[in-house]
Symmetry: C2
């Protein structure tokens, strides 16, 4: 693990390309990284196994997996088995949008950040590929940061915590190129909304389409295994 | 249940006096109430049974209990068995403060609110008794509301959701008098941080002290059973 670094960050790690690249970036910025994976009952729970692999590869200080069963409230194709994962969508907010997901995940990250006195939280939110998701916009992230600094002891003391979404304005191809430069093993990531139990991707959901297209445009070899 | 009311609210209900009074207020304001209890691994988990009783008494539309294990991150006497619940505190933030608890609970409420298209969220946060808690201040609630309206589909459409903490500036005695006027059965509420398995209160923790003092000042008979 090397010597302790005074700057600490909680990094949300899902096992996908974006959060893996975000973890790589936070590591490169010399943060001591505390990885957090939220198991919210998503269909693609194989991603948790991939998150563990990525965390190991980047030698994080700690990795916690916290369960919260969002299937209780449903409202998304990712958390309600009655809603089918679509193969593509035209416009508007897709049914794979999970209500308040980023807010819930960032809030839990904020709790842990307060316990370990972290200086920053990193999240792989992206406004380009997920343009329909309200909680993937820069103004949302800024607003969460403001709220977070009113919500916590650190904030009261004037020691602000920063909420960082470094990929927010990047295309998937740009993220993949960045990830490659940071030595990410993309075969240890999974993007599919309905990957099978060994992690093989469906190849037809929105997330698979965006990922495949990203590798093509980045001219990076795609190691994805399709079922 | 009576006829459907067009205004819906998600109400955070913990089983204590404040959240019960908040539920009574939201009911009186003609909201269709959807009660949400977060089981975050608190020591006083008997409160969940009390929450169920209160929800039944107020005939809520639905009551969901969502589990999230905050003992994983610890950092509070309520979620870490290694930290003792104090019998009193002098000043500053008490060890019973749970990092980011209100943010996490409001975020989950926001997720459900989005699924059912609720107009409001009600929370029993109080700045008087819990003056040391950063997330019990009016400016925090306002900031959460602003963030919530950037985080959700409703917000994008300009149909704002309101975050209501109607008790925030009231003393415990004022809350008890209000609750009495709204016909709350206080014997169905629990406040103790370490109530036993039948709900009897310890009588010595901060929360017991505040509750007992509140009944005395309100000149309302205290039905609390002490162990």
């Amino acid at each position: 693990m090397g010597k302790d670094n005074p700057k600490k960050a909680v990094v949300l790690v899902s096992g996908g390309i974006d959060s893996s690249t975000t973890l790589a970036l936070a590591t490169k910025k010399n943060y001591s990284c505390f990885a957090l994976t939220i198991n919210y009952g998503q269909r693609h729970h194989i991603e948790i196994e991939f998150a563990k692999r990525i965390c190991k590869a980047f030698n994080v200080k700690a990795h916690k997996v916290i369960d919260i069963d969002l299937t209780t409230i449903g409202g998304s194709a990712l958390t309600d088995p009655a809603i089918q994962v679509p193969e593509s969508h035209a416009s508007g907010i897709p049914v794979t949008y999970v209500p308040a997901r980023n807010t819930i995940m960032l809030s839990i990250a904020l709790g842990w950040a307060e316990v370990i006195d972290a200086d920053a939280i990193f999240v792989g939110a992206n406004a380009v590929d997920y343009s329909g998701y309200p909680d993937c916009r820069p103004e949302y992230i800024k607003s969460f940061e403001k709220m977070a600094n009113l919500a916590t002891k650190r904030g009261l003391e004037g020691r602000l915590i920063s909420i960082n979404a470094p990929l927010i304005d990047m295309t998937k191809a740009e993220i993949i190129k960045l990830g490659e430069s940071l030595n990410i093993d993309f075969s240890a990531t999974v993007s599919c909304y309905q990957a099978n139990s060994s992690g093989a991707a469906c190849g037809v959901c929105d997330s698979c389409r965006i990922r495949r297209d990203g590798f093509e445009k980045a001219r990076v070899q795609d190691p994805t295994v399709y079922s």
